[in-house]
């Protein structure tokens, strides 16, 4: 039985005091894009916030031939370029870079992993580290299994201290590959040491969905099928696929966004209150939602899903090429850049409430939001005329870019007559709190160092999500429904609007 450690009495009252134990973090793919843009700047900012303890060391591992010094120089450049906080503090940066090391690792060579193990052991001694290790796979998903196997072969997953591995989404390509990945990782690491990172969950506003629902007593009583008409989730991007053509053309909007971000937002919106904000309690409830979602099969898929691909159009005043004209995209690609679907959650709370989800690229604007639309009042006390300008009540949870929450309700227009109009009560994060929100990676990296997996995806969550998505992907491969096109800069193909029109509803324009 794990003995609960007494809290450090000196840490009491230090708000936001979260500091990791000394550890070595090995970043595989340390010279790559994710490492340079996100991980190293996030670690620097953690150092700046005094969240990295004395002795914390980072070992970069990649194919390139680099010295420690050259890696430090590269890291310094990336931090200068991408750090959230500017200007860079030279003394903190210098101290942080001092604890950066580099080992060339060819993932196929066990000897390289042995050399890595040797370097890590040396750091244990010099930095008073009790064997704690974090292995971050900032590499393409196909390498995860190889890395895990080699870590085991080199004995890097055992010994004193903790041994954790972090992998980035996508967690597999389908249910089968996700299970294989899980099995491999679980052979090397205990499940509670596997941190599947979906950076969306590190966003303050995503976490605030739970705070909004469960820290207030006024919303939960109305958060069910009795009063809610429908839920709309929009994850829209104005950008195209940028340099990710090779990856995206195999993934598409369903795998890239809906299987992970989209379904995560569904679970957070729909889950039952967990017993505590604790890793397994939260994730248990999320999995229950995924399992309660009515699977789409056969004709349901044609009637409840839409897929589209953007063609040349105008976004934010600029003409942009069509998807098939993008680099590394097949000229006859059938990959969807827009996906929309209607889901039902078959449980007591949500019976009969449709969840509409859409995600796409080259839409008119970048916005992520969840809109909870309420039913109309049962009786028109003020008459139809007075109410004609009133929309149903709605709560909108805005995830990005203007993080906040708004509540729409009817109010009397000041005049001698009686007219009701919709007004909006707005809460904006930016102007309501006196602190700056940390970057998602900072939060998640620190969670991983501390060993808190609440905001990471558990294996059963991943599998439950793929179980829902696999049949849709299968049907789409057979062109059911057919791929439609939409001009870049519009809200998707015509069928997306029809999906809601068929139910007597329409998409909210974010």
């Amino acid at each position: 039985m794990k003995v609960q450690e007494a809290p450090n009495p000196l840490a009491e009252g230090l708000h936001d005091y979260r500091v990791a134990d000394p550890a070595v973090m090995v970043i595989f793919g340390a010279t790559g894009d994710l490492s340079g843009r996100k991980l190293l700047p996030a670690l620097y900012n953690l150092a700046k916030q005094r969240s990295l303890p004395a002795g914390f060391a980072v070992v970069g591992a990649a194919m390139n031939e680099l010295t420690d010094q050259a890696f430090r120089q590269l890291a310094g450049q990336k931090i200068h370029q991408y750090s959230r906080t500017q200007p860079i503090d030279d003394r903190v940066l210098a101290a942080f870079l001092d604890q950066l090391f580099y080992v060339k690792v060819d993932f196929s060579k066990l000897d390289d992993f042995r050399a890595l193990a040797q370097r890590v052991r040396e750091l244990d001694n010099t930095n008073h580290i009790p064997g704690n290790r974090i292995f971050y796979c900032a590499t393409p998903p196909p390498t995860y299994q190889t890395i895990a196997v080699q870590l085991q072969a080199a004995g890097l997953n055992t010994g004193e201290g903790f041994h954790r591995v972090v992998v980035e989404k996508p967690f597999g390509y389908d249910l089968k590959s996700a299970r294989e990945l899980t099995q491999t990782l679980q052979k090397v690491f205990a499940e509670d040491s596997v941190f599947r990172i979906d950076h969306y969950l590190g966003k303050e506003t995503v976490q605030n969905i739970l705070a909004f629902r469960f820290a207030n007593s006024i919303f939960e009583p109305v958060w069910n099928t009795n009063l809610i008409d429908s839920v709309q989730i929009t994850v829209a991007e104005d950008i195209g696929i940028e340099n990710r053509g090779a990856y995206y053309d195999h993934a598409g909007a369903m795998r890239d966004i809906i299987q992970n971000h989209g379904l995560q937002l569904v679970t957070l919106t729909a889950m039952e209150p967990p017993l505590a904000f604790e890793a397994n309690a939260v994730r248990d409830e999320k999995v229950k939602v995924l399992r309660a979602i009515r699977p789409l099969i056969g004709e349901d898929i044609e009637q409840s899903t839409v897929r589209g691909q953007y063609v040349r159009g105008w976004v934010l005043g600029e003409q942009v090429p069509g998807y098939r004209e993008e680099k590394n995209v097949a000229p006859d690609s059938q990959t969807e850049t827009f996906a929309a679907l209607r889901l039902f959650i078959d449980n007591w709370r949500w019976a009969g409430v449709p969840f509409y989800i859409r995600a796409g690229k080259r839409l008119p604007k970048r916005v992520t939001e969840i809109r909870i639309q309420f039913k109309r009042p049962p009786h028109l006390t003020f008459g139809r005329d007075a109410m004609k300008e009133v929309d149903p009540n709605a709560i909108t949870l805005r995830i990005q870019p203007e993080e906040g929450i708004s509540l729409k309700f009817g109010a009397k227009v000041p005049s001698a007559g009686l007219r009701i109009r919709s007004v909006t009560m707005d809460f904006q994060y930016q102007t309501s709190f006196l602190v700056e929100a940390p970057e998602a990676y900072e939060r998640l990296l620190l969670d991983c160092m501390i060993g808190d997996p609440t905001l990471f995806t558990r294996a059963d969550e991943v599998e439950a999500a793929w179980q829902l998505i696999d049949p849709i992907e299968e049907s789409w491969r057979n062109s059911r429904p057919p791929l439609e096109t939409y001009p870049a800069g519009t809200w998707g193909p015509p069928s997306a609007a029809k999906l809601l029109q068929a139910d007597g509803r329409e998409w909210h324009r974010p």
């Binding site: 005091y17 503090d89 930016q430 102007t431």
Partner: protein, 457 residues
Amino acid sequence: MSTTVRPGTETAWHGEDVTIREVLDALEAIRARFARSEAGDDEHVHPRNCVMTLISVTPSEADELSAEQTTLLIGREHPAQAIVIREEAPVRGHKLDARIGTEVQRPQMGCPTECEIITIHVGGQAADHLAELLDPLLVSGVPTYLWWLGTPPFGKKELLDALRICDGLVVDSARFEEPHRSFHGLSRLLKVAHHRLGLADMQWSRLRPWRETIAQFFTPADRRKFLSGIAEVGVDYAGEGRGNRIAAALVTGWMAAALGWKLKRAAAGPGGVVVAHYEAGARSVEVAFRSVQKDHLAPGELSAIRIAGASQGTTFRLTVQHDPERRAAQAEPAYRTLHPTEGEDDAGFELAERRAEWHRDVLHENIESLHHTATGDPPGESRPKRPVVLSRDRRRPDSQRVLLTMIEIGEGAPLRHVQQLDREDEVALLLDLLSTGTHDEVFNRSLAEASALVDRF
């Protein structure tokens, strides 16, 4: 009331010998005008947001300017009802002089907001009844914070009266004119103020990086045992005398309260070192306070903390040092804000520059000795009555300040660690205090312990 040299805001209204009712009417008119002008023809008026009422009580014109600037910077990002109060002798009528300054923010995303700062000069008996004066100006449903620049009138009815309408009082014990005496006053407030009142001290906030660094050392599971093995603590502080030992007492009080140490005695030792003896269960812990001369530190600032001991046969030593590599301080630009150019021509700049130079050379260089000659007080007992000069001088808006940590465990090689200190200007400290609330039980306990220790000095 002067309406010139107000950085940032535009004077939207000012009145002399007015009532609060007139201030409220003016405020309402300003807000309505702004809402209408921003709404346009077809749009509805944007909702108004407010996260707190922040009242600043200022003892001098320089403080008033400083408070206006600070609240403006906070208000730019966080809509607040900002009120700046200055007590002055009534020169006309029996009412008050007031000014409303406004600044409009137009964020790229979101609605424009107007930040208003209400500055009120109040004199005579009205100044003794701040609660009644300010109550109508408070925003309902959001917390009210009272930021008292300088030394609050501890023990006086007027302070308790003002605290009636507040959820939190913010002071800076590093700016108290008589630090030793006023610190006791602050501590006594814990007992006499209403239970909702939160107490916050900017000096305590400045200690946060020290507290974090010390806590961090003991956080790993394998080092937790060292907490019960602490035998010696050394605290170095800049300046001389008991008045400069307040921060040192606070950090010691924090450790004592957290670790359950009981103060037994404190006595002066050789070389100006004061030693406090604590009982920690069956052990004793000795805390030595040493005054050091550090040009780059202001009187009272911590210079270093050393914690040493042994547990289960392993010795440990933690040393945290303030800015050991810091260069000599640059000439303080804050003096220049006391000497506005009143014009942007070369002659104006030249004149202001010369006044600032004179101010620094004549007043600052000799201010401590001039003060002690004038008052006869021993070093550290009281501070010169130009706190704004001192406080700005001591708190440079400098992001390059660090703590250097040295860790020695057993026979292992020392481990060096550098950590950045937070910004220590008033805006940053206030933001931090207000964002986390002023109810801090750890501070209250530490303050009580520190006060008991200061008693023995």
